[in-house]
């Protein structure tokens, strides 16, 4: 097995990077079918980390494993010093409350209004009064550009708005780690760019570590500080590092083909 071809980050961060998520020798399998093996990477505090790869290579499944929704076959995941895989369910639940997750389809609770969706975690895990909860929910919704939609049900708004509302819910408890599953899938280019800006805004204002699963090249180059590239055929990660630096330096044809959308002239230019 070849070593993953890791490229150093192009811009050195201002302070020493602090590891936040550490993944060691992770193997993910469905029964006897090994989807991914030998996953090793570190996500530093406060960076936007991209999980990329072709369709069906296991990006979303890796996310489910990181969230504890699926148990890995082997390997370990640390959040700071916290051993996530070995932890019991109560410790895990406490850790989960420090996460925010945006699911592919938004996954808003369809029986609740947007304000109730955003307010639910606040009501369960804080001592705020219901008026205060409403206020915080309104603020979070206005951050994603949905001021005035507090009393709408998820089915009454568009897909892009559902995504943004999902993001508002994900940041309701000011999470330490924000997981975004295909945030810009199904959005038009302008909305998707606004979402990218919003993600960077959240990283800078909340100081959250953000893990993004995506295959949208524009987003990858716009927001990615660091990344891991999963390959479906070899069932492992074949590259990692800053996406822009990766495009410049990588020698792997599979990675270059992906990052240039298979455009031959771009690949030639890059290899020259």
């Amino acid at each position: 097995m070849s070593e993953p071809d890791t490229v150093d980050s192009a811009q050195p961060p201002a302070r020493r990077p602090q590891p936040h998520i550490i993944v060691r020798d992770l193997t993910i399998a469905y029964g006897d079918f090994v989807l991914m093996r030998g996953l090793n990477f570190v996500v530093n505090r406060g960076e936007v980390f991209i999980v990329m790869g072709g369709s069906g290579c296991g990006k979303s499944t890796l996310l489910r494993v990181l969230l504890g929704l699926k148990e890995p076959a082997t390997g370990e995941i640390f959040y700071g010093d916290f051993n996530f895989i070995r932890a019991d369910s109560e410790a895990r639940e406490r850790q989960l409350r420090r996460f925010g997750v945006l699911y592919q389809g938004g996954a808003l609770w369809s029986s609740m209004t947007l304000a109730e969706n955003v307010g639910l975690p606040l009501g369960e895990f804080t001592d705020l009064s219901s008026a205060e909860i409403r206020e915080v929910a309104s603020l979070k919704l206005s951050l994603v550009g949905l001021k005035g939609f507090e009393d709408y049900y998820p089915s009454q708004i568009s897909g892009g708005m559902q995504k943004r509302a999902g993001l508002a819910r994900a940041i309701a408890l000011d999470p330490e780690v924000l997981f975004l599953d295909e945030p810009s899938a199904g959005l038009d280019p302008i909305t998707s760019r606004l979402l990218d800006e919003l993600i960077l805004e959240i990283r800078d204002t909340l100081g959250a570590t953000i893990v993004v699963v995506t295959h949208e090249l524009a987003s990858i180059f716009a927001i990615g500080d660091n990344s891991v590239f999963l390959d479906a055929d070899s069932h492992t990660m074949i590259a990692g590092g800053n996406p822009r630096a990766m495009l410049e330096k990588t020698a792997d044809p599979r990675v270059r083909r992906f990052l240039t959308r298979g455009d031959q002239s771009e690949q030639d230019r890059a290899s020259r």
């Binding site: 079918f33 969230l67 989960l96 996954a107 609770w109 369809s110 975690p121 819910r169 997981f179």
Partner: protein
């Protein structure tokens, strides 16, 4: 000109052997999917007959219009060439078709991803189905245990769920179920009375219709009919709601927020059913007795007062409480079966339909099994 002429012809294949160990496949006519596909056997036979062929080339000068039919046929030929280790020369194919083949081959066939389609023997299938069935029973018991833990948290005041959800569920499986319970229970009372009346009239013992209906409804039929109505009405609704939430990842969203779906979704639903079933059962008993009284008054000329006196004499407290207790247990069974099937739902819309069906079937089967167990148990206890 030639192409126009050729386009009217049906699809045809001809083979020609050249001197330099090559086989030319001549494709002509109109290749349309609606006209069917020629088989690839001809090429296999051709390759078997003439030895020493190292190359297969194509001639499409007589080819008319074509669509995916031709692509599939050429793919078959390429497959045959691969297995027989013969080179194929694609130069003679139309440019569009060559690009299409490249696109089809861009992602290599994942052999390991293919599900083996070997047909299992009947013994194996029966065995698997039985194991699966008993696995279903353990799943049910597993879920029951998890629900008991959630219930324990409720008792100690540590359960996390929205109180409003419980109120809404109580309204839905209590007040909103009145209409259908009224109708069905009244009719069941009428049927019981009618069946009894025909027999008892022969002996001049019509008045005992009141005893028959009262005991029948209060001991078993009231609880049973309510359970069957609620399995079809509320159990199915639970499975459909939770199944849809599974499909749209709403349940994942709860889990990753640190909210236990067992407490948040299952607890209010099953609790509402457990609380409402005994009340519905008492109401159903009453309706059944009224149905019986209607038959008694209308058909057997029994006065309402004597019917009611006979009824009150027939009902024993033990039997009545037995019926209410059964109804409570049936409520738990239906609620848990509905929620369990919802949680087990796959991630597609057809899976939601299967989950709903399975919830109703599981609910009714377990209710009938429980009814049988109760009958034996109550007999032994002398109730």
């Amino acid at each position: 000109m030639r192409a126009e002429h050729a386009s009217a012809e049906p699809a045809a294949v001809a083979f020609e052997r050249t001197d330099d160990a090559a086989l030319i496949v001549r494709l002509s006519g109109q290749w349309r999917m609606r006209h069917g596909l020629p088989s690839g056997d001809l090429l296999t036979r051709e390759l078997m007959r003439s030895t020493g062929i190292r190359r297969v080339a194509f001639d499409t000068s007589q080819l008319g219009a074509w669509d995916s039919a031709l692509v599939v046929f050429v793919t078959r030929i390429i497959e045959i060439c691969r297995t027989r280790k013969v080179n194929e020369d694609r130069a003679g194919l139309p440019a569009g078709l060559q690009r299409m083949l490249e696109l089809a081959e861009a992602v290599p066939d994942k052999k390991e991803a293919r599900v083996s389609a070997i047909r299992a023997s009947i013994a194996e299938r029966v065995g698997r189905a039985s194991l699966e069935y008993f696995g279903g029973v353990t799943d049910f018991i597993d879920f029951l245990g998890a629900f008991a833990i959630a219930l324990g948290r409720l008792v100690t005041g540590r359960a996390r769920f929205r109180r409003i959800d419980l109120v809404i569920e109580i309204q839905d499986c209590g007040a909103r179920a009145f209409g259908i319970v009224t109708l069905i229970s009244f009719l069941v009372g009428v049927i019981l009375a009618f069946m009894g009346a025909v027999q008892l009239q022969q002996f001049g013992a019509s008045i005992y219709v009141a005893d028959l209906v009262a005991i029948g409804m209060v001991r078993d039929m009231g609880a049973m009919m309510t359970a069957i109505i609620m399995a079809g009405r509320t159990g199915a609704a639970f499975a459909a709601q939770l199944g849809t939430m599974k499909v749209t990842q709403e349940i994942d969203a709860l889990t990753t927020m640190g909210l236990d779906p067992m407490q948040f979704l299952v607890l209010p639903r099953v609790l509402a059913l457990i609380l409402m079933m005994p009340l519905l059962c008492v109401y159903s008993d009453l309706m059944g007795i009224m149905g019986g009284a209607a038959v008694g008054a209308g058909m057997l000329n029994i006065s309402l007062t004597s019917y009611m006196r006979e009824t009150t004499a027939a009902i024993q407290l033990g039997g009545a409480f037995g019926g209410i207790f059964k109804a409570t247990v049936y409520g738990a069974i239906i609620g848990i079966a509905g929620c369990l099937r919802g949680f087990q739902c796959g991630s597609s819309s057809s899976a939601v339909g299967e989950a709903t069906t399975s919830a109703v079937v599981t609910g009714i089967v377990y209710v009938v099994v429980a009814c049988g167990i109760f009958a034996v148990l109550f007999h032994i206890l002398g109730l």
